[in-house]
């Protein structure tokens, strides 16, 4: 299908594999560890208020949004987190940008040397899913992008700030004159470009992108994903990329982790996880997504739903939906074990 389309659609450079940012222009420190997350957990106390709990004699209710998660992110690469709603992706993202404190464990950014010679911790910015809610509707686009430049005094005066804003608009594929317009005049995809320009304005090194294209149409999504890849190659950006869309993740990731009920169930180099998924949940996810290239009209859906993170099932939390589940799965939680380059939490992997 792609071959035929290529013949008819004059589309630039498809089909050559891209191996991370390693083939991009040499960036100092590309591939070095930039973020190290060690046994991070985030728990929320969702008990009823103290008094009513005492009256009703209810125990405390603790929601384990993220449980004992460890991983490292290499500079200039994309680490993706995949999983269904409520599995803890956004909570993890918020911990990485510092909007949420881990209840246990640590998240450490390593100092980096930048192209301009400066040395220090990476600057981290977040791109949100909803490009409508994340931009102040009363500000002109130029002021939205200039705010961090003014705030952080990244340019000496107003003229160079304006010039920088104009440059950034062009970098993300908008025009300099868009600076004087308000967000409502832009489509969803254009607003996401503005969010990216604003993040770049801080001279960010590390972008946490929480479902950045989920609210966009596929054709607009392609524009934004291409832009993100281009910016990564040009500026050596590191991405923590969050999505529930496996084909988008396949396109973007160097490394990836599959989450289920707050825990990693499989993590490793994206290529390996996609070509040889080993955790039953990963396999089911890959078997479940509707596939336009190889449609399977008899696809059998995964049964059941994601259980509550307040009272996860004992043992392996995937056991109620797993066709391989045995007694040990209901009794003992499988550790995330290193198997070659991939880590898997399953008694039978």
């Amino acid at each position: 299908m792609r071959e035929q389309m290529e013949a008819v659609m004059p589309s630039p450079h498809r089909d050559e594999p891209r191996s991370g940012a390693k083939d991009g222009p040499a960036q100092a420190g590309t591939g070095d560890i930039i973020l190290d997350v060690a046994a991070a957990s985030c728990r929320f106390d969702v008990s009823a208020s103290g008094l009513s709990r005492l009256i009703a004699r209810q125990p405390r209710r603790i929601l384990r949004a993220v449980e004992d998660v460890s991983f490292t992110v290499r500079r200039g690469t994309t680490f993706s987190i995949v999983g269904e709603s409520g599995c803890g992706k956004s909570t993890l993202a918020r911990m990485v940008v510092g909007l949420q404190r881990p209840t246990e464990g640590m998240l450490n950014f390593r100092d980096i040397r930048r192209a301009d010679g400066s040395f220090g911790p990476p600057r981290v910015q977040m791109i949100f899913q909803d490009p409508y809610a994340s931009l102040n509707p009363r500000w002109r686009v130029g002021d939205i992008i200039a705010e961090p430049i003014r705030e952080l005094k990244l340019r000496p005066d107003e003229n160079s700030t304006k010039a920088r804003v104009g440059d950034l608009l062009e970098v993300v594929g908008l025009s300099r004159s868009d600076a004087s317009r308000y967000p409502h005049a832009f489509s969803g995809g254009q607003r996401q470009r503005i969010s990216i320009a604003r993040a770049l304005a801080t001279e960010a090194d590390f972008l946490v992108c929480d479902e950045p294209t989920s609210a966009l149409d596929v054709s607009v999504q392609a524009q934004i994903l291409n832009l993100m890849v281009k910016l990564q190659q040009e500026f050596g950006l590191t991405y923590l990329f969050i999505s529930h869309n496996l084909s988008v993740v396949r396109h973007m990731s160097d490394d990836l982790a599959i989450m289920y009920l707050g825990r990693f169930v499989e993590a490793g180099p994206a290529e390996q996880v996609f070509t040889r998924p080993r955790h039953p949940y990963t396999r089911l996810l890959l078997d479940t997504i509707p596939d336009v290239e190889r449609p399977n009209r008899e696809r059998r859906p995964m049964s059941g739903e994601v259980p509550s993170p307040i009272a996860p099932p004992p043992g392996c939390s995937f056991n109620p939906r797993c066709s391989l589940a045995a007694d040990i799965c209901r009794a003992e939680r499988p550790e995330l074990r290193q198997m070659g380059e991939v880590r898997i939490a399953c008694h039978f992997a």
């Binding site: 299908m1 792609r2 035929q4 389309m5 013949a7 008819v8 659609m9 004059p10 589309s11 630039p12 450079h13 498809r14 089909d15 050559e16 594999p17 891209r18 269904e84 709603s85 489509s187 969803g188 995809g189 254009q190 149409d217 596929v218 054709s219 607009v220 999504q221 392609a222 524009q223 994903l225 291409n226 890849v229 529930h244 496996l246 084909s247 988008v248 396949r250 396109h251 994206a270 290529e271 089911l284 996810l285 890959l286 479940t288 997504i289 509707p290 596939d291 336009v292 290239e293 190889r294 449609p295 399977n296 009209r297 696809r299 059998r300 859906p301 995964m302 049964s303 739903e305 994601v306």
Partner: protein, 325 residues
């Protein structure tokens, strides 16, 4: 194809705004056969929901049908007065929307809502209605339906709520269901459960479905035929395999190629530059011409029509000619 269940001919929808009328749907024509699933895709604002809204007669002012006809089983329904239209809706056409909560009453148990809908449309008593309600909940796959029937909507998960809405749409055994992004708000694993359920309904009850979504994967695995919309028009329609694998319209081809593959990693995604025009700035001729690599003078002057063939594209230079040349 057997006589169509639904036939939409040359439908035009206009919004009377402050700056004059805006044409939101411009000559939309399609049929749905009994038991068939017609997928409708296109980017947001293309006119998918408006088409569905017009069919179920829920178009609100300032929107109005400015031309064309809608027939259900041969009966013209676009000019029905409100009351007969209300009876038709629910009885012969069911609706499922993206957000299940919009279709459910928060203060009534799901059993009461189902029973009430059943007694409104069918000549049955309370006891029989409740029995049918229970059967419906079982049919759409609600576990422990005997107890769940007395629960309120907020006690259900998103996926379960959407099942309840489907049960509600099925109450009067309608011959057509309009499903507008029924799985968009749901997780992938739940989404597959819902589309499988919709397919089973078609197979077992002969229900026809107009399935509006922007997910080509869902279409490829669920629909029999697909209509691709762009700027208020159907620009390509045909059997789902043909349209997704051998698109004739340059926009469909670009759309298909912009979907990332789950089987391989590519350097760059195919991208269609620019954006779909707004209603007040639709270019003359073919609305896609400013973004089209094949555009020629005629594309900027003459609006291409949609030929009546089984697989048709509204394009002066459809891709098939090039492929067969």
């Amino acid at each position: 194809m057997s006589a169509p269940l639904l036939s939409v001919r040359d439908l035009r929808i206009v919004f009377d705004g402050r700056h004059g009328p805006l044409t939101a749907l411009d000559g939309v024509s399609f049929d749905i056969a009994p038991g068939e699933i017609l997928g409708v895709v296109g980017e947001s604002g293309a006119g998918k929901s408006l088409t569905g809204t017009a069919v179920i007669g829920l178009l609100d002012p300032p929107g109005r049908i400015a031309g064309g006809e809608i027939h259900l089983s041969g009966q013209r329904i676009d000019n029905l007065p409100p009351e007969p239209m209300r009876r038709l809706r629910g009885r012969r056409i069911g609706a499922i929307f993206q957000d299940p909560l919009t279709s459910l009453h928060p203060l009534l148990t799901v059993g009461d809502q189902l029973a009430e809908t059943i007694t409104t449309h069918l000549p049955v008593g309370r006891t029989e209605a409740r029995r049918r309600a229970l059967d419906l909940l079982k049919e759409v796959g609600i576990p422990a339906a005997e107890t769940r029937i007395d629960h309120y909507p907020h006690q259900f998960s998103g996926g379960m709520r959407q099942r309840v809405v489907i049960a509600l749409a099925l109450c009067a055994e309608p011959s057509l269901i309009i499903a507008d992004e029924p799985t968009t708000a749901l997780d992938v694993s739940i989404q597959a459960q819902i589309t499988t359920l919709l397919k089973r309904l078609c197979r077992e009850h002969g229900t026809s479905i107009m399935l509006v979504t922007h997910d080509m994967g869902v279409i490829a695995e669920t629909a029999d035929r697909v209509a691709v919309m762009y700027a208020g028009r159907i620009i390509e329609i045909g059997p789902v395999e043909e349209v997704t694998r051998r698109p004739h319209h340059p926009y469909t081809a670009g759309l298909m190629a912009s979907i990332p593959s789950v089987h391989a990693r590519h350097a760059t995604l195919n991208q269609i530059d620019g954006a779909m025009p707004r209603l007040n700035a639709i270019p003359p001729g073919c609305a896609f011409n400013p973004r089209c690599g094949r555009a020629d003078d005629i594309c900027r002057e003459r609006k291409p029509g949609l030929p009546p063939s089984a697989h048709a594209a509204a394009c002066h230079f459809p891709l098939k000619e090039l492929v067969h040349a």
